[in-house]
Symmetry: C2
Subunit: 212 residues, 2 copies
């Protein structure tokens, strides 16, 4: 990325990208900011502000050029530069992620899965092989992978994280409901589905203006 | 929830809850804010501020009572009040979610799945039945369910969303990479795994202070 974007801006730009792809599929050449705002139930001024950040200016009364805006967002978010990753845990979530083709379109290139269940070793899931954990250090080195997607049971999450760090992994996308202790130079992104669910069903309206 | 909490506070409180559960399992009675801060790689003052919001005060040099703080967070986030939901799409993500037992512990009670594949209808996944889409309106009414978790292919996401709204669903937890058009009185929570991934691998440090 060529600039510092906040988490919320990145999330919104991704949603704009979903909308632009759909516009292109429907043969639309232009889309207006009020239309995008309406679809996402957010302010028009917010949409315009975000899009200004990716250096795109709409035409008065016509809107944004769909293809051009899509490419600007792709460039800004850098998601056409593929990143290689391993999935740790060939269970339900691991399998769901490896079959989730859209992640690939957005630059996540999953090379293999790892598990310790002998019945799973050697299996192919969506054309990707399941290896035994013990092969991890070797394959991290050989393929230069530094992203691991952790989908193991929470009871073994910390042990696995230790092994990942030991093997040279620098980024852990953590799908387990467990906080991981890692060295300072390793980044953990907690997917936190549970936190998302709790936000979603919060009875009171979630405050949008988060200043901390 | 008894107060307006920002998205970020809810997410952090959920992570504190993960840590507290682990403390309890290890037999720890007290935990300090610097310890929590260290595990999450955030500021100690942030932890103290968040915990103050759930009406808990630590003891000088000892820290917070683990069990008491855990209960306060549970009360604040209201996640012991179970919420019934249906999963729409008995594919990989739907199956992964229904087998994800931790969601249940945090109050998400999935009653059934829906699909249109004749081979799947009548199947039991984790003791939950897969019904045909056509049974949705009837079961929404009968069981009073207002949350749907949408995990269908993106090509049919909008059609499914229309059917859900028609059937009386009020909350859609959207796992598809598609922005959904719904009536004003229906809430959509975009899970946006792709946006999360893009944030995570952002080369520059994501700005933490998000004021929009």
């Amino acid at each position: 990325m060529n600039q510092n974007l906040s988490e919320k801006v990145i999330k919104r730009l991704t949603l704009y990208h979903f909308i632009l792809l759909e516009c292109e599929q429907s043969g639309l050449e232009y889309v207006s900011s009020p239309r995008i705002a309406e679809l996402l139930n957010i302010d028009n001024s917010q949409v315009r502000k975000d899009i200004k950040m990716v250096n795109n200016v709409g035409k008065c009364k016509i809107g944004y050029e769909v293809k051009k805006l899509r490419r600007s967002i792709e460039e800004t978010l850098g998601f056409k530069k593929p990143k290689n990753a391993f999935i740790i845990g060939a269970g339900n979530i691991g399998t769901a992620l490896i079959k989730y083709e859209d992640l690939k379109d957005y630059g996540l290139n999953i090379l293999a899965l790892f598990d310790n269940n002998p019945l799973k070793i050697g299996m192919m899931i969506n054309s990707k092989e399941v290896f035994h954990f013990s092969e991890l250090p070797n394959l991290v080195q050989k393929l230069g992978v530094d992203i691991a997607i952790l989908t193991v049971p929470k009871e073994v999450a910390q042990n696995c994280a230790d092994m990942l760090v030991e093997a040279g992994i620098k980024y852990i996308w953590n799908f387990t409901p467990r906080v991981l202790k890692v060295k300072k130079n390793v980044r953990v992104w907690n997917e936190n589905l549970i936190g998302n669910f709790l936000q979603f069903v919060a009875e009171d309206k979630v405050v949008d203006d988060d200043r901390d």
